[in-house]
Symmetry: none
Subunit: 414 residues, 2 copies
């Protein structure tokens, strides 16, 4: 029993978009223990889609399609699959009702093109789409062939996969074993440094331990294969404990944890509040903090002090000091943190000022130089210098700045 | 004459890495005007690689492989291709010399496994690798089949592609023509609405027009095929003009334009400044505005007024009105916009207040209800209601809110 991923979309053949869906699905199949030997990408062309299906049914039993489910004329996936298996389409009233209800909530009317999304092969089950209009299907058109279709929009596809496809696939017993995994997350050290520290674990066979790095965040993925989820978790637990012991405070969490959720939980535990003062990140730190539902429990708000006049007027930064030290300095970072804490009457103030580039760098203050200030409840105030490197781009420097600010506060809260 | 991209690597089937190589190559093939209808991903397994080759030679004339060229035991691509075409391998002394020279510069010694990289099919030309040790091949093993191989490391692959493969492919005259494209960008209408408005254009053959949608942004990709880039652009220009005419103000730009760059340019042209007041977006609007280098020319900063007390203390929102209307209301949005404009002494004030969810929604103020306020230089102040739908998630509602605020200001500035 093996699966093939078939991504449909001319935009993939033109290189307009990255094929992130195939990566997501590949990882999920690995976790489910379902074998997967081929991926195919094909354009919005019925003849070629049919040729791809003919090849796939010859070498796999589960065909997973993404893309081409929407209302526009180039969305052809479902009709082409039905045609390949010589099955007529029928309009499903429950899908029409679902789309109408979704549109009504947004004050929109359904169009003729929208109705196309309700046309599914006779005999196919609906794979519901909670976030968007186009549903998928789960369909066994002939013995030893099961088809699952998903929209190309990653958020819709992932939600549908988790909610409906995973329980379905598990219920069929197609996974050769249970694979469980856990992602430990780290901040403040490089992937190669972590890999050297935990080198002996990278050679393990079950569980396996593999390092990843993404935008400054370093991860270790622990994966165990066993007969039951409990047995897999029993294999992982002692390895996780040892890895956490080696990494110490550099390990900030696991799986769904983010620096923002971890900082939020620490603040909530202490019944304390936070306000932020941002220059080069322009709101990115506040945005990260408020990605967490319920963050209003501890996050009061902040000042985006992009212009120097705002740093003085709103945060009470001393104009003379700003003039002498420059906006990108340890002194100004500390004054911004203390100023926003006082202005917002919060327990903690967190500030960022730096040169995000690409312009604005000098020999003494190059692109990538960032100061982060933390003002605490006892009146203490501290700032730290970071040099993210002038070869890094604006987006990267701003992201590292916001994450480093959260990490700095996290370590103070521990 | 068409090409197929075949990416070899078990790490792709496990979802450990994103397949960025296929996107790069797809875009390059489009630019060269070489047709490309299929992409295949296959693991480091000789039998399955051979099956993929058998399928590919049946439907394409140019086979482009990435991955599996290195020195380790799972690097099997070249030997498997040679085996498929029943051709022996021979060791190339010039490759041995090249690897030895490269290793000497890094103080390393060549190992037995390294020699494998010099084993190429008899008759194949070397495709030199300036950055790494493993070379590729350019090989015509039989009539109507040309093979090009590249390492999986993107920087090596791209350098080899640009330096050797592109001149080779051009010299063969396989590009049917030059393909140029342009992406028009829209905000404020749905993909299906736009597709219906421009339906007649979606049927064009040269240039082609295709709709895309991503996170609320709708796009039309115009692609033209012609003998020269100038001729292709001449084909596109009248179509773009007609599409822009049909879409009117809903079309905000093309290619690299974003709502933030377009708003920034409009402000810069007028010599005006902007400040923002954010509640549910928590800094996301400021973050978007400051993604643009040089945004300090017109963006002064803002207030993240997450807590109600901040709306009153920092932005001067009337506490009684806040109490009566609630924080999520047209009146508070307008007061926040006017307040931040006055406080920051900017020409424009832009505000967002809403229910991002998942909690906090009520019957009268459901999740997805957002008010956006715009306060202008003449003292005018206006707010607008949006209902993004309670089935949408927090991230999506916050993104739509920030983009809609930018779009609202854009339309006022036009």
């Amino acid at each position: 029993m093996s699966a093939e991923i078939i991504c449909v979309g001319t935009e993939l053949l033109l290189g307009d978009i990255l094929n992130s869906n195939s990566r997501y699905l590949a990882r999920e199949l690995a976790d489910l223990g379902i074998a997967h030997y081929y991926q195919t990408v094909v354009g919005d062309n019925p003849d070629r889609i049919k040729k791809a299906i003919a090849i796939a049914v010859d070498r796999a039993e589960i065909l997973i399609f993404t893309g081409g489910l929407g209302p526009t004329p180039d969305d052809l996936t479902v009709a082409t699959i039905a045609d390949f298996f010589k099955t007529p389409l029928s309009e499903r009233p429950e899908i029409i009702a679902d789309i109408e209800a979704k549109y009504a909530r947004r004050g929109r009317k359904m169009t003729t093109s929208d109705r196309k999304q309700a046309q599914l092969p006779v005999g196919a089950d609906i794979l519901p789409n909670a976030k968007g209009s186009a549903p998928g299907i789960i369909w066994q058109p002939q013995a030893n062939v099961t088809i699952l279709t998903f929209p190309g929009v990653p958020t819709e596809m992932e939600q549908m996969w988790r909610t409906t496809a995973v329980p379905f696939l598990k219920s069929q017993g197609w996974g050769q074993a249970t694979v469980c995994s856990r992602m430990l997350k780290f901040w403040g050290l490089r992937e190669v440094e972590l890999a050297e520290k935990v080198a002996e674990f990278l050679a393990l066979e079950n569980p396996t331990v593999a390092p990843y790095a993404n935008w400054g965040e370093v991860k270790l993925r622990i994966s165990a294969r066993a007969a039951t989820p409990e047995a897999a978790r029993d294999l992982m637990a002692p390895v996780e404990e040892k890895l956490r012991h080696i990494a110490g405070e550099d390990c900030f969490g696991a799986d769904e944890d983010t620096l923002a959720t971890v900082v939020g939980q620490l603040l909530r535990d202490r019944g304390q509040t936070l306000a932020v003062a941002e220059s080069c990140t322009g709101g990115g730190l506040g945005h990260m903090l408020t990605e967490v539902p319920g963050s209003s429990d501890y996050f009061l708000g902040g000042a985006i002090a992009y212009a120097n006049a705002v740093k003085v007027a709103l945060l009470g930064v001393d104009a003379g000091m700003l003039e002498r030290q420059g906006a990108v300095s340890a002194e100004v970072a500390a004054a911004m943190a203390a100023g926003v804490r006082d202005k917002f009457d919060s327990d903690w103030g967190l500030s960022i000022t730096g040169v995000a580039g690409p312009g604005g760098g000098t020999d003494s203050k190059p692109v990538g130089l960032v100061y982060i200030g933390v003002a605490g409840p006892g009146g203490q105030c501290h700032s730290e210098e970071y040099r993210f490197g002038s070869d890094r781009d604006r987006e990267w420097i701003r992201h590292l700045s916001a994450c480093s600010a959260l990490d700095g506060l996290r370590r103070k809260l521990l």
